[in-house]
Symmetry: C2
Subunit: 252 residues, 2 copies
Amino acid sequence: MVRTDRPKSPLSFQEAKQNKVFEDVVEQIEEAILDGRLKTGDRLPAERELVKLFGTSRGTLREALRVLEQKGLIEIRLGVRGGAVVRPVTPEPVTESLALLIRHQRVSLEHLAEFREGLEANVAALAAQRATPADREALRQLVADARAELEQGPEHYKQFMRVDSLFHTEVGRIAGNPVYAWILATIHANIERFFDRKLPRTAPLLDENLQDLHEIAEAVAQGDAARARERAIRHVRRFCGIMAEEDPPASD
Amino acid sequence: MVRTDRPKSPLSFQEAKQNKVFEDVVEQIEEAILDGRLKTGDRLPAERELVKLFGTSRGTLREALRVLEQKGLIEIRLGVRGGAVVRPVTPEPVTESLALLIRHQRVSLEHLAEFREGLEANVAALAAQRATPADREALRQLVADARAELEQGPEHYKQFMRVDSLFHTEVGRIAGNPVYAWILATIHANIERFFDRKLPRTAPLLDENLQDLHEIAEAVAQGDAARARERAIRHVRRFCGIMAEEDPPASD
DNA sequence: TCATTTTAATGGTTCTACCTTTACGCGGCG
DNA sequence: CGCCGCGTAAAGGTAGAACCATTAAAATGA
């Protein structure tokens, strides 16, 4: 199956690069997934079947499956009834590759937080313009949930943070633009991944946090984009300032 | 080299998941790259050497290399003096995985453009706050370059678009936050990839475009963040509106 | 009926052999 | 002297077969 059949029609120039076999396999399966011929949850045939279908060796086929797995398109399960199943598409691969960039180039928390600040501001403003009555209710409910957690004392701080995270996700959803939602999720994930160690959780701090959420929710509910933007900025900036104190600036 | 040696010390619980061999190899090489033990341009030993070093089979090792290649960390060259060389880190993998998301979930141009609008606005505002005299000069020079291309007539429209692109990249650089620069580059790449087919390039349109660039440059040069933000939004919105006309909304 | 054991399907790994591509050097020819 | 071409060897690419490890499901037995 080694490609020696590169067409040579003298006048129709075409791709000079010869495709490697595994790339061809990757492309075919990827197309099938993106075109919807393979849907989320579908199970591909077993490796030994695919080998027959594509006419390659098993090693080559496995390289192709590994690439697809790395792209986040499939998941490979072990054991009987195992095999490659089509995964739901998530922003996770974006998060992963961004994490690589961040780690390799040693991006500072300041840069990440500044970016998040601008992002959250835009999202809050959009949400304010687009919130439906149901959205307003949902946001207020989340604030109430957060307050309830906080009132249960320090042992519920973790739950409080979870609600906080939900709140941001919800605002992203209300903004109605999946691109914002994805990138926001990606940035959140990376901030947590690299900088979330031991950020302080004291009562007054969390109270301020709750107050921020409340004000953002109200601004969104009233359709006041400018105020929503401003409150979101204040919220992120406070959060970042606190973490920066805890985390002395790396001096490299 | 199949893992049967899972430690079972009864009291020191540890990772339950057994690592696959190739994952172990990926991790080791990835760490070496991120820690700087392997630098950009370095060439890894030949496959058959690595096989000895890691004590695995060649197939397994090749799966690991494929994953690293997919992550954008290495490039695999053919022939003698070939092999795996460490690649410079670029935002390209982020672009790729985002492209997958966009294509799979059929994100509309409107969503992408709206996101870009907010992004460019923030970047322009930051750039206005941070531009040095040299930055100002560079921006003005780019505007002058763009004008020069435009004056040379329709056959230079392509060059004009290139300068336009450079202008946006430069504003991103001036903003001084690599995260903004990366995401902006990623969004640009994806807009081009999916929607840049036959966008009209008529003289009056490009004139407006040039005027936009000029006004953004001036706002940035004068440190007027609010105006820079506003001009950037107008610029992107015009651009998007034009493309939307050309590109009737997909009705699926 | 439920717990336990067995079995078979399926991915994970190894080994070996051979093909393909490509840099580099050597030798002949102008 | 130079350079063109061709051979050679190093390195990745592919194939195929054998065996190991994991797991769901079927068979078995209490």
